[in-house]
């Protein structure tokens, strides 16, 4: 088995210098780029299996680099490292087809877990669910651009946060998502309520989607750990 090649893109040398050996010890082959321009060039040259990219960088920022890759039809999985922490930034990351995103500062073990999860989900050369404009699961349809959810032809009434949560669950179908991770990625904040904040929204989703927690079609509770979207999700262009 050949080792997984990872391209790590960050202009902060302190970060690449410490993360690279950590990732290498986790079994990956790591190359480093200092900005988006260099990253785009290296993707063309060496064809990494996965890209980890910071957003705020000189010359070409991570968001623009990602857009260029996707426009060129390159579907290498990308994990964006957000820094500003703006909730809009997270929404943008999803819109532009990032496969996952992680808020700085993060635990490097968490990064490795995300890398493995994204690699498991990805189909080489194919666009991932993260790049799809609409997500479908049976007659349930989430239009990511207009932020609307339909069941057949009927539009479902959901709060914006519940839609964001459903979007993340659907783009990470079949993956165990801890409440902490959902808080970090969908809310972007940690709350004192922690689990309750997530549970309340899951309850809202289940009520509106008429999903029975005992026999879930969509959202399964993983006792003591978190949630998992169990339906088959397809990307619809």
């Amino acid at each position: 088995m050949t080792s997984t090649k990872i391209l790590l893109v960050d202009d902060e040398q302190a970060i690449t210098a410490n993360l690279s050996p950590f990732l290498e010890r986790a079994g990956f082959v790591v190359t480093v780029a200092a900005d988006g321009k260099e990253a785009v060039r290296q993707v063309g040259d060496s064809g990494p299996d996965l890209i980890i990219m910071d957003i705020l960088m000189p010359r070409l920022d991570g968001r623009e680099a990602l857009r260029r890759l996707r426009q060129a039809g390159d579907w290498t999985p990308v994990i964006l490292l957000t820094q500003v922490g703006e909730s809009t930034e997270r929404a943008m990351a999803l819109e532009e087809g990032a496969d996952d995103y992680l808020n700085k500062p993060f635990d490097p073990h968490e990064l490795v877990a995300r890398i493995r999860a994204v690699l498991r989900r990805s189909r080489p050369g194919q666009p991932s669910l993260a790049a799809a404009r609409r997500l479908a699961c049976g007659d349930l349809m989430l239009d990511r651009q207009s932020r609307r959810v339909y069941r057949g032809h009927a539009e479902l009434r959901l709060t914006p946060k519940a839609i964001a949560l459903l979007e993340y669950l659907m783009t990470h179908a079949d993956e165990l998502l801890t409440r902490e991770r959902l808080l970090d990625t969908v809310w972007g904040w940690d709350y004192p309520t922690g689990t309750r904040t997530v549970d309340t929204r899951i309850a809202e989703l289940r009520r509106v989607l008429e999903d029975d927690p005992a026999q879930p079609r969509y959202i399964e509770t993983v006792p003591g750990l978190g949630y998992r979207f169990v339906g088959d999700v397809e990307g619809v262009p």
Partner: protein
Amino acid sequence: MRWRRCTVALIPLVAGLVASLLFTQIAALPNPIIYVHIDAGTVASLVGLALSILAGIGLVPWEWARWRGAQREAGIRARAAEERLRFLQRLDHELKNPLTAMRAGLANLANGLGPEAQGQALASVEAQVVRLSQLTADLRKLAELETRSLERVPVDIAELLQEAVALAQEQPGAASRQLTLVLPQAPWPVPDILGDWDLLFLAIYNLLDNAQKFTRPGDTVEVRASEDGTHVVVEVADTGPGIPEEEVPRVWEELYRGQGARGVPGSGLGLALARAIAERHGGRMALRSRVGQGTVVTMRLPPGDIAHRR
């Protein structure tokens, strides 16, 4: 600048005097009503004088208001500069301690330690890193609150308070405090608020958390909600040690920690966050305290129908 503008008021007077010089050659005007002879020059001078006086009277309050406004603005700017300086000093202080601990820990590690001591040093450095991460997370929340888009959905304040109290009761030390929630039923329950459930919960939980942290075993913490015709009022009151009068205005400042807060864990951002959340919902916060008697924090929020019209 101001006085130059005041000279404008003198223009009619000067114009009148100039006109009077021109009129000196003209004979006195006949006056058909009162037999007073007055020459045109005098008339022009008097008219000019009257106009100047009127203009002067008009300018004085205007100039006065401008001057007061400028004074006020300078005051606000000075206060903001002072607050900013204090914030930077506090931030410096908050960063200094964990960084010092980390440097010491790293120096110990570099010297080569036994396995047990090495484990301790690593754990201590990691604890400081987590502390710094928490600080940046809280600062980011505060910064994001300004721009974050708020959800505007009906929020049942009674239900929210019940959940917040339930969560507070699970915290260590809660059992030794008397924590009660008072919700009115008559003549009507507290109306809904249009807002962001998560943020409102965070704000109210912060108030409750503070009340629990700063009270002693045996103290009472009371959470009350009411409606006064224009606002929904949420109060978190305690019988704790209270806050000295001179500290009260500053408790809202970011990272501010009063004398009584030394040694109590926390970042000093809880009240600042709560206030920012209340303000984003069109509400206000207030705090009253008496040393030795306790503290009450009040959050006033516009009810749903009013918030909707905003």
